[in-house]
Symmetry: D2
Subunit: 193 residues, 4 copies
């Protein structure tokens, strides 16, 4: 900042020595605080966590476990519903229930079985074997991190499904990332128009 | 996040393999954007810059240069006056002119000569040879970084003066740090009470 | 904060009087600074501005004006390309050109005519008469504001097209909102599957 | 934003009507989320709370109550020690114990009695009858709010003591403001130099 000005306008040998001498240390430990800034690695870890959790719900369902209970745990750990409505538009949601701003709406989408959401058959109950994010771009500012790209789902027969997916995460006071926006859509196909 | 849950509750060998397979990459470059988060190194560089600039103003004055013009350049490069009033309480400012929320008040403090600020003789015109920050602690959150500690000034005779100093910086859209708060005070001495 | 504690635990008549007496004023004006927080009204104004601009580009095109020049002005005023790649997924973009992280890609989408983007015929050149946002939910944190909902486009024949649209805005240092993410998609239709 | 451009360059009667027609509503409630931005009123309330709490500790001490327990409650409710080291420089702290980055150091300053802080006699145990903040300026950005000015303390004999005081607050996830920096100093007096 000022250093730049001095570099281009005022630097002398003496000043450079001075600059080298002013390292802000007194031999004592300096204490540093504040929330860790969000990194791209944090975003990738949160995405990988979401994908692994989806597969785990599916696998639990196939093996006769309590997929709904696991889905609730996943939603509470991954989405910001405890703090605010979440801007969640799941891939197959449509009509009057396109936007799932409540925890109940998210749960219905993942595991179905809620008469209030008759269109939901449970996206996470499909036979998913794997899911992987493929980012096109990210944006991080303050306490908010955003990703845009695809997620590729592979089912147990080896078939792949690719969706366009955008996530916005915030860091909670517990240090973890929570989803405040999740928009998932089927890619546009000109021929299908 | 979800990864943690899976680690403690659901991990199987299969899942670990899956986790390894979902690295978010497709061979294409992912584009990353957003303001760089403030780091402790950024704060230290800004502090070092302020100290070097003060010494440069003093040296310019001793050598017959235009100390006032340099002080203006320094203030514009280091303080946030172009965006907002600055919460600036210089070491020796007092009475009705304790707080220098305007650029004019900051300039008067550094180089004096402004009849509107009769108490100012020009702090930066004193014969400073060096200045070095000694941080006790820092705090960074969002676009704001804070330091608390001392600055030790050394004059050309080798005498040292230590002040307590707090800075709050913000990162401007140009990427540079700007001072939004600067409070400098003489340390409390019980015997002087 | 502490007030609450005192209210429930320590309040006496004397303390209430004290509380009334400590209004932080000394008769002088207190100066307040810092970026204005983003409000829902700011988000709505930015959305209305985007819609009006789209219609203006279309109208300019119909009337033989320079739609491309207007589109460039609109993109520079509304999108964050000057600061970072923008996470822009336009409604009809697809395949390898799904994501328009560059200003060039955004311009091609709006007005077409760029051989590097052969799939683009110019979305803003269609005969739009009106466009209106219909929000489902918003989220604001720090310097970031997010909307999710629909935009309804009306063409000059009165036909309506409804898309799902998500915007993420940041406030620039000039006080204006800029789009850092824009994802627009055709609603999912179960029957079209 | 774009609206401004249209106002100065493209506005016609038709467009103004359009603008009026695009209010983003569909008759359904729009859900809004996110942390409330910090306001000047929030800062004033937090300051008033701190002042009232100090007086309450003093009064509790005079009346034979458990001033230390109250001070602990106040510190936990008002300072950010649970999240990070606090940049706290109390008025009379000096020497090697100038900066109280730990909760223990803050408590010692307020109520004394800690052999590890031999210079502390308990600032809050002095016979305070009232305290009032007098702000010179504030600055708010993102999740951070800053005040600079004086606090005037009145003891039970009616004597006033004025200190210069700077606070930096953050909003916690519980919605309350917490002090991340507190620097309090005796005003500079030229004659006392």
């Amino acid at each position: 900042m000022i250093t730049r000005i001095l570099t281009t306008r005022f630097v002398s040998a003496a000043l450079v020595v001075t600059a080298a001498a002013i390292a802000p240390t007194n031999g004592l430990a300096v204490e540093h605080g504040g929330p860790a800034p969000i990194t791209v690695a944090d975003l990738e870890a949160a995405q990988a966590g979401w994908c692994a959790a989806l597969v785990a719900i599916s696998k639990t369902h196939r093996e006769g476990g309590d997929a709904k209970a696991l889905a609730e745990t996943v939603i509470d750990a991954a989405y910001n519903y405890a703090q605010a409505p979440v801007l969640f538009k799941p891939t197959l949601a449509h009509g009057k229930q396109t936007f799932r701003t409540t925890r109940e709406g998210a749960l219905a989408y993942f595991v179905g079985g809620n008469p209030a959401f008759p269109g939901d058959s449970g996206f996470a109950l499909k036979p998913w074997a794997a899911a992987r994010p493929v980012n096109a771009a990210t944006y991080i500012e303050g306490n908010i991190g955003i990703t845009m790209g695809h997620v590729v789902f592979t089912d147990t027969s080896g078939n792949e499904t690719k969706v366009e997916k955008t996530w916005v995460f915030r860091r909670g006071e517990d240090g973890k990332l929570y989803i405040v926006l999740h928009k998932s859509t089927i890619p546009y196909s000109p021929s299908a128009k």
